[in-house]
């Protein structure tokens, strides 16, 4: 086989190799920026609301704030309009608790459409919805008790 043919084969193979690598990168790129944002999620997110100009009027019966009902800081509250809300002992938490059994970044409350979720952020002592320790984002309604450490929080209207 001639020298030139072998050279062309080598270049062709290297081209295939790089086409593969570049395609992989382009898939990663589209994965990063091209993710589809569903309308429902956008409606609940603060950014989406700003886009609409005025905050959407809360539906009747929809919760408006998160309240500490039991524990070391009873009465501490955070408006759900600022969601997602961070709960923990850290200074960046929306609801800052002085409870020794609460982690620095313990849990987070966020919205998806009309539903509110609580999500544990890998805390030491766990987050409980009712009697159950949650392992993934869990929907909560008005009045459902969420326990972190020795503190109990609720969504209120």
């Amino acid at each position: 086989m001639s020298e030139l043919t072998l050279f062309l084969i080598r270049v062709a193979f290297l081209a295939i190799l790089w086409i593969f690598v570049l395609s992989a990168i382009s898939v990663i790129r589209s994965d990063m920026f091209g993710a589809r944002v569903p309308e429902t999620a956008r409606g609940g997110a603060p950014a989406g609301r700003k886009g609409n100009g005025k905050p959407k009027k809360p539906r009747r019966g929809a919760p408006t704030h998160l309240l500490v009902v039991e524990g070391d800081n009873p009465g501490t509250r955070a408006e759900l309009a600022d969601a997602p809300l961070l709960i923990g002992r850290g200074s960046d938490a929306a609801i800052k608790l002085d409870d020794d059994y609460v982690s620095t970044r313990h849990a987070r409350v966020g919205a998806s459409g009309d539903e509110w979720f609580v999500e544990d952020l890998g805390s030491t002592n766990g987050t409980y919805v009712g009697p159950v320790r949650i392992t993934q984002p869990t929907t909560i309604g008005v009045g459902v008790q969420v326990r972190v450490g020795k503190t109990i929080l609720e969504l209120r209207k």
Partner: protein, 467 residues
């Protein structure tokens, strides 16, 4: 492990079509390399290309279909990257087989590797099908730690333990050689993540500050230090430098990610420095490797000499930018061209262009692992993805860095490329674990017990107090 803005912010697409597209390209890389090897060495497309290509395609399609069914939201890039690397590695082994046969020293590395790849893909499928949620692994934290240590001890046992090339890391059961350390790696990642996810706050916050570093309490650090110390001791006794480096780096990376304390990196660097100095002073082998690295040409003719490294460097230098082409290099001059030094074979025959593509592929695998860790919703999955990604990163850095003369050479396999069944099988399982975690992470948030509108509107709904 900060979680920023990924909470239900957007929904990931499934991207299975993109995966299929990339897999076709990956197969083109694998089968194209095989054809190019035949054309370069024998002047014709190999006769068995249909059977070989068919087998490779069948394996990849089986893996893809499994992912489609049981992990539809999994990362679309990992499987194609791995398929391309594995196919490429098979072609390189085939190329070496042909040369070894011409020299009168026949090997069937490629054929055996294809068998191991089949085993690997089968285990990949089994892992994905049987394990629908990676969090069940958290239950086996201590079991996994114990299993990892037992696996590391296995080569010391009489009858089944084997010492090959000065390292006692092999077992031999029913005619099959196996490196249990490759599986132990995965076990220890599971054990570390299971332990750290429960104790990371205690490790990060409780304890005293000594000089620059917050030292955690002994009872928090004890168990993990024990696991780590035992495995390091075993590896040192086995004379397996590469793996000890890998475990050390893995341990440090996971501790750093779990506690978010940069102090660990300082402590780790200090410990590494002290350890390296001690090893340099007391272990001849380490001293030699340093000397070979600094002055490779001076030790070319010595008996434990730098012959192999120098030949590999010559080969890569001769390969230049686009290489000599398949069949026009002399990779057989490097004794371990099929395992640790496979990168130098690629560098010689396909040049820097191909080596860069390979390194980029590994980089993308690590990037995907870290991305999975970022978007994962549970701490255990995060830590596991980081640990598995760190294994790839460290392994590739240590071995490619060693072969190219960047750092002193320590023996480790190049994941998916090198000949070696244990490593290949273990790495396929690692990829299955990563895909499982990513499937969980990218899946849209499940809607558990949807709030009934009428109930939510009713003022009379009473909440039963639970405490």
């Amino acid at each position: 492990m900060s979680q920023t803005g990924t909470l239900m912010g957007f929904v990931h697409r499934r991207r299975r079509g993109a995966e299929l597209f990339l897999l076709v390209l990956a197969l083109a890389v694998g089968i194209g390399a095989y054809a190019a090897v035949g054309l370069g060495l024998e002047g014709q497309v190999p006769a068995d290309i249909v059977g070989y290509g068919g087998w490779l395609t069948a394996l990849i399609v089986a893996a893809h279909v499994t992912v489609r069914i049981v992990a539809p939201y999994a990362d679309p890039v990992l499987l194609p990257l791995v398929a391309a690397l594995n196919g490429f590695g098979l072609a390189i082994l085939r190329r070496l087989d042909i040369t070894y046969e011409a020299l009168g020293d026949p090997h069937t590395f490629a054929r055996q590797q294809l068998v191991w790849m089949t085993v690997g893909v089968v285990l990949f499928i089994v892992t994905l099908v049987l394990m629908r949620d990676h969090r069940v692994l958290q239950r086996f934290t201590y079991t996994a730690g114990l299993a990892g240590i037992v696996l590391l001890i296995l080569p010391f046992l009489p009858l089944i333990g084997r010492e090959i090339n000065g390292a006692r890391i092999w077992i031999n059961v029913a005619g099959f050689s196996f490196q249990p350390g490759e599986v132990a790696k995965v076990m220890l990642v599971i054990a570390f993540s299971g332990y750290l996810v429960l104790h990371r706050d205690a490790l990060a916050l409780a304890g005293r500050r000594v000089v620059f570093v917050d030292l955690p309490r002994g009872r928090d650090l004890g168990p993990i230090m024990a696991m780590f110390g035992i495995s390091m001791m075993i590896l040192v006794l086995q004379n397996d430098l590469g793996s000890s480096l890998l475990f050390f780096g893995l341990f440090l990376a996971m501790l750093y990610v779990a506690t978010e304390r940069p102090g660990w990196l300082v402590v780790g660097a200090a410990l590494f420095g002290a350890g390296a100095l001690a090893a340099y002073t007391f272990v001849d082998n380490v001293q030699n490797r340093f000397n070979f690295w600094l002055h490779p040409l001076d030790y070319y003719d010595d008996s434990p000499g730098s012959f192999q490294l120098v030949e590999a460097l010559f080969g890569q230098g001769w390969g230049g930018l686009i290489g000599r082409g398949f069949g026009d290099g002399f990779p057989e001059r490097v004794p371990f061209a099929y395992s640790d030094f496979i990168i130098s074979t690629i560098g010689e025959e396909l040049g820097l262009t191909a080596v860069m593509a390979i390194v980029l592929c590994y980089g993308l695998i690590v990037e995907r692992a870290l991305r999975i860790a970022l978007i994962s919703r549970d701490g255990f999955g995060k830590l596991m993805a980081v640990g598995l990604g760190a294994i790839f990163a460290l392994q590739v850095f240590v071995v490619i860095g060693g072969v190219t003369g960047l750092i002193p050479l320590t023996g480790l396999t190049t994941p998916f490329l090198s000949y070696g069944g244990s490593s290949l099988v273990a790495n396929w399982v690692v990829i299955a674990l990563l895909l499982r975690i990513s499937d969980q992470a990218r899946r849209p948030a499940p809607r558990l017990d949807p709030v009934d509108d009428s109930a939510a509107d009713s003022e009379h709904t009473q909440v039963v107090k639970l405490r």
